[in-house]
Amino acid sequence: MTGTVEALINLMMADQVAIPLLDPILNILYGIPLLGHLLALILWKPLFAALICPGFATLGGLLMLLPWIERKLVARIQWRIGPHEILPQMGGVIQLLADSLRFLFQEVIVHRDAKQPYFLQFPVLSFIPALLPLLFIPAGTIIAIESPYGAQIVLAMVTLFPLFILGLGWASNSRFAYIGTVREAFVYFGYEIALIVSAFAMIVLYGTSDPLAISGMQQVPGIILNPVAALAFFIASAMATSRLPFEIPEADQELAGGPHVEYSGILFGLIYVISYEKVYILSGLMTLLFLGGGSGPEIRVLGDLSGLIWFILKTLLVMIALIALRAIYPRYRLDQALRIGWNPVFTLSTIAVGVSLMEVLLL
């Protein structure tokens, strides 16, 4: 029995997140019986990746922060002020905390026509495609599950999102939700192929789909190796998040929220963050494929955290770029979005595959 525990602890200690700066403190803390074990468990790389970064905690923190960043940034571009009244000294940074408190205490109304079990389950279930891909995205050297097919798995998980949104709309059983659901399906057809093909172009270029290997291979970031693929992937990501300028399924103007028109309270809060989760995951994937993942000038004292910080910074940059689109471009119609998805973006992604093949053959 003790042997098994010993073996487990050894396994964990062999694969710890190394932080040279904190080593003295950590060494003391390891000595304390229960706390030491707990700390060792948390700092065990796979668990750290799943729970802290890039997993659950980072996602939660970003969900709290992203809407504020978005509103503040767009307001600046549009000559407005943005959230201001809650904690004005900090520029209203806890706005979403206030919003989520409101969502929490609001009554969840399940209308008579709704398919009740599905209506209640789908918002919660939609966290599955948000959390699972994070297990395969490495932040520097920290990754939850190492897999030679990591990139494909992430893409497959991301393309699961629309399924849950279709489920939401279907369970709502209302006209607006129905129209929004159909539009979601349409847009899904518009971006999906371009997204996968442009990612495929990079996999062809690197010759591997192991996330760790991909980030390790990029001495020159992928965006320079194959800018066409980066552009196609970026536009397809913008469509995949179904946010402005491609806010076609939700369409506040016509459909008053599309698939989630019937939701209220905390369930609405859960749906509200779906698009931000998508933004985070697609930005992470983009960082991994095109910006070199966690690679960057290494800060020795931080050890493994160095790569992690670079990864988060790059992801934030991509997220801000995706978010700022709504302040730059006007909203597209459904047919325009489909044309963009099928015509220029699909063409770009196909060209990108050609570019990758040529580079592989020539170099």
Binding site: L73, R76, I77, W79, R80, I81, A324, I328
Partner: protein, 242 residues
């Protein structure tokens, strides 16, 4: 009808325009302009002719009911005061701030202010009685500066100026067509002299002579308020252009 056609750009021009848009967004994100006035800490400076709450001067009112008649929202009701005369009350729950009443007032008894933000505890209190209209409505002012919008070329800019904006304005009464009362049908006049009694300025005078009554309108002093025209039982008086 002209059909709107999408401009026929080449790929290069498309790219140029996309880059321009992104460039503008980045510039504004870094050095933003602002057009939001942070009311109530600052107030927009309204023009002197702004149509806000009204102040009422009972000394000038001649109880002609003109404001109540012209009010398109039926917000003005005339209430009998202790001195037996009728003065307007305004229901700000109905008022649409068109200031027709002010324009129609022949004596300038209603005055405009720039006040537009008065809070009420309930709907009943929005009915503002005559006594409450004599003084401007009470508001809490937190503003330390006021804001002006300046159009400069194509863009709108915001200029902040320290100091309080004076909300009470002293405008001369609106100019209007000068009219005077006159008799269009002297034979139908009954000689009841009600016009003489209602005239606030003593413009219509009568003198009893042996075989009848002589009526005289002093055209110099007639303000054209129309009170006599309204009161004449035979409608023989009419307002005509001076």
């Amino acid at each position: 009808m002209r059909k709107v056609v999408a401009p026929d750009y080449t790929v290069f021009e498309h790219v140029k325009r996309h880059v321009e848009a992104v460039k503008t967004a980045i510039r504004e994100a870094i050095i933003p302009e602002s057009v939001t006035c942070s009311y109530p800490k600052e107030r927009r400076k309204m023009p002197a002719s702004f149509r806000g709450y009204l102040i009422f001067d009972p000394d000038r009112c001649i109880s002609c009911f003109g404001c109540a008649f012209i009010c398109p929202a039926n917000a003005i009701r005339m209430k009998e005061a202790e001195d037996g005369r009728y003065y307007p009350t305004i229901d700000y729950g109905k008022c649409i701030f068109c200031h027709f009443c002010l324009d129609s007032c022949p004596e300038g008894a209603l005055k405009p202010t720039k006040i537009h933000d008065v809070a009420y505890r309930d709907l009943d209190r929005m009915l503002t009685l005559t006594e409450e209209m004599i003084e401007p409505p009470e508001i809490i002012r937190e503003d330390k500066r006021y804001v002006e919008y300046v159009i400069d070329g194509r863009d709108l800019h915001l200029r902040r100026v320290d100091g309080e904006d004076e909300l009470l304005v002293d405008l001369p009464p609106p100019s209007k067509v000068e009219r005077i009362a006159s008799c269009i049908d002297p034979e139908s006049c009954t000689g009841c002299r009600i016009c003489e009694e209602v005239c606030e300025h003593g413009v219509i005078r009568s003198s009893v002579e042996e075989d009848g009554v002589r009526m005289v309108i002093d055209s110099e002093r007639c303000t054209g308020c129309g009170l006599c025209v309204k009161e004449c039982s035979m409608r023989v008086l009419r307002l005509v252009r001076r």
